[in-house]
């Protein structure tokens, strides 16, 4: 009994206070002619309710990371594929093994055969002078160069060879690579980075495609050796696009396509390049020493000054009968590669005797331009027949 009375009094006092709040003058409001009493209290309660809800944690389903046992089970279950797929029955496994030099006549399994498989365009395999200079080089420098170009792998024959090639072609400078196919797939990523635009021919060979893939730029292909397609592609890319002014743009073509044997029309390409302001990377592996009156390549064949082509690369494993590759162009182009071309910086340099062979081969080409007329008459004969 004594407990109930104070509680009843307290409740009555509370109700009286609430009603007073409801009936206080400032709690009254008139909205559209309707009296609303005690609206402030209601608003106050609503705000309190909102604040209460906001302060509670939101519902997130609990994260259950995999237990060690589950990971063990998954690892046991997992079955990898075999490292190499099974070889199909009809796949060719035997390759012809030569028993002497790969000249025009060679011996396979004791039989003498005529060799149409080697890219020995100028017939320099077996040339006495070249072999003598190589012998001298091996006796002086040994076989390998034992280091990359930056760390005592630069031998004076490398520098002589670079100067010789630059002088022969009429460019400012050149740079030697130690393997034919690594030339083009190191040059392209050195100049083209993510965000650049490259327009390339569809029919370029594997090494160029690999370079394009490694460069991570946007690559647009145009129809093989089709200048109309090239023009329309260039137009589409640069039309109305103000931003292309700042982006580096390249056209990648080969002088003689390895896969189809066609010759690229250089004069058309230069005209388009100057119109749309693209830089040209020309791959001259099969045309250096073959095209042109004195073997200086595609630029001489079409009578285009070599300065108009920004970057010329070539592998020396074809006409020059040696190994390795070079890239030539202006001083800026060549100097840039000395530090940012991965096939140059991270790889051992060309063996010195191969550089000597290259110098002798270029000398031979300069002194005997008659080999080119021989080559051309042979080509014409085969075409006709």
């Amino acid at each position: 009994m004594e407990v109930i009375l104070p509680i009843a009094n307290a409740t009555a006092a509370a109700i009286a206070r609430v009603s007073a709040a409801f009936n206080a003058p400032h709690a009254r409001a008139v909205v559209f002619g309707i009296h609303i009493d005690g609206h402030l209290v209601v608003e106050g309660l609503l705000i309190a309710a909102i604040l209460f809800q906001l302060s509670r944690k939101s519902y997130k389903p609990p994260k259950k990371p995999l237990t060690e046992k589950e990971i063990d089970e998954l690892c046991d279950e997992w079955k990898p594929e075999p490292l190499c797929p099974p070889i199909k029955e009809g796949a060719r496994i035997d390759t012809p093994t030569l028993e002497c030099a790969a000249g025009p006549h060679t011996t396979i399994d004791g039989k003498e055969v005529v060799n149409f498989a080697s890219a020995n365009y100028l017939g320099l395999i077996g040339n006495e002078k070249i072999i003598d200079s190589c012998v001298g080089s091996v006796e002086k420098y040994g076989v390998g160069s034992c280091g990359p170009r930056g760390f005592y792998g630069t031998i004076d024959v490398h520098l002589d060879c670079e100067a010789k090639i630059a002088k022969f072609l009429g460019t400012q400078d050149s740079i030697l690579y130690s393997y034919g196919i690594s030339t083009i797939f190191s040059v392209i990523p050195a100049f083209c980075k993510k965000g650049d635009i490259i327009v390339a021919d569809e029919g370029v060979h594997w090494a160029v495609q690999n370079g394009l893939q490694l460069s991570r730029s946007t690559v647009v292909y145009f129809k093989h050796n089709d200048m109309a397609s090239l023009a329309s592609t260039l137009e589409k890319l640069t039309h109305g696009n103000k931003r292309t002014e700042k982006i580096r743009r390249y056209i990648v073509v080969e002088a003689i396509y390895q896969n189809s044997g066609q010759v690229a029309p250089l004069d058309e390409i230069i005209r388009l390049k100057e119109k749309y302001r693209f830089r040209v990377i020309l791959e001259e592996s099969h045309s250096f020493g073959v095209l042109g009156k004195s073997g200086r390549g595609l630029a001489e064949h079409y009578g285009v000054p070599i300065e108009k082509i920004d970057i010329v690369t070539a592998g020396m494993g074809n006409a020059l009968a040696t190994d390795g590759g070079f890239c030539t162009g202006s001083v800026r182009v060549v100097d840039h590669q000395r530090l940012s071309s991965s096939g140059y910086v991270f790889s051992a340099s060309l063996p010195p005797y191969l550089a000597t062979a290259a110098i002798s081969a270029v000398n031979h080409l300069e002194e005997n331009p008659a080999v080119l007329s021989n080559l051309r008459s042979n080509i014409a004969l085969l075409h006709k027949g």
Binding site: G142, G144, I155, R277, H336, L354
Partner: protein
Amino acid sequence: MVRLPYTTALTTLFSYGLLFAFGQLRDFFRKLIDWFRVKDVKGYAPICLGLEDFYVRRLYLRIQDCFGRPIASAPDSWFDVVERYSNDSNKTLQRTSNTSRCLNLGSYNYLGFAAADEYCTPLVIESLKKYSPSTCSVRVDGGTTKLHTELEELVARFVGKPSAVLFGMGYVTNSAIIPCLVGKGGLIISDSLNHNSIVNGARGSGATVRVFQHNSPAHLEEVLREQIAGGQPRTHRPWKKIIVIVEGIYSMEGELCKLPEVIAVCKKYKAYTYLDEAHSIGAVGQSGRGVCELLGVDPADVDIMMGTFTKSFGSCGGYIAASKEIIQHLKLSCPAHLYATSMSPPAVQQVISAIKVILGEDGSNRGAQKIARIRENSNFFRSELKKMGFEVLGDNDSPVMPIMLYNPAKIPAFSRECLRQKVAVVTVAFPATPLLLARARICISASHTREDLIKALDVISQVGDLVGIKYFPAEPPKIAEADHDKLE
């Protein structure tokens, strides 16, 4: 791993900061001056935009004369370094015809086959006359000669695998083989300090690449468990195959790989292993067979073994040794085999002769002597350097020893002062090493005699005092002299 002392890190950062600030100042003035000069190439975006070649222009060009020094003789233990001069503060360097005879501590000439050798060179010259310097054709169409098949069998026998295939360049070997083995849907786990060729090959393959901490089998296991349990990114399908790529000797650290533990982890989780023995084949091991022999690992446990012929055999090119099925698959599908000119025949003959010398099949024991000598030389040199107080990285028995320099100013100081005293060393900085950890790297050869090494130690000690790179306290000279007497 290298522990960087706090004060050294601060001073190095300060030096780089100063160089960076000066470089920016010069760039600013260059831009001002160029405003008034006519530009002749309009409309073409420049080859390097903005800060892309800042490091090259402002930091590297200052010390350009320490790199790319041309030589005028074979890279043997003593060679002729061509002197160069510059008229425009190192932007371009001109050759002179003067040379200076220096001790070679930089070339990769581990077994001394770099110069003309009494057994190898006559055979090389004979093969040059018979097969001429190049075959001008790819391996599959008339580029394979008897020498190539002989070398492939010899390499397979030397390394301890059933079969091998050759390539003309070590860099191309890695970049072209890895895409043939693993494609989209596969996983490559590679060591964080792997060589650029492996990184390029991994990128070109299209597989997902994950990196584990350098030489840490525990972290490798963690990464493997996480990846196998998680599956391919986003789709969570199981991986098609997993390849773990490690190197035998890491060329910038001189460390050996922890091969037995790595192989154990890979076997447990059914991952394939790829071992790149570019620096270790021929140079370590009881009979020169590389890291597997040194650490007691059976070659059959490593799925694919790769190596190069540039370092220990004095030639050029690379090889892959694996089981017969894998090699046949590679011969049919690897672009470097199908589209690239085959290896030059005289270079092949050089490797054949070099391996025969190492195995002792040429009738003498020069091979065994060379291997013993390089091990002795490396251990002697490393222990002496450590006694002098230098910070030397790498494990015992490894012929590569980096000496830490840290500060960017010490790099050209060390290099030029050593050259003045007729010792040629290699210094390496960013980007081949992390920014703060510049070092000088010494490569020991079997053709270095004890006198050569003692002279080198004297010079390095003097220069080290001048430049201030003896970061650890030196041992007292009394004990050092007693050790000298013991060894002699």
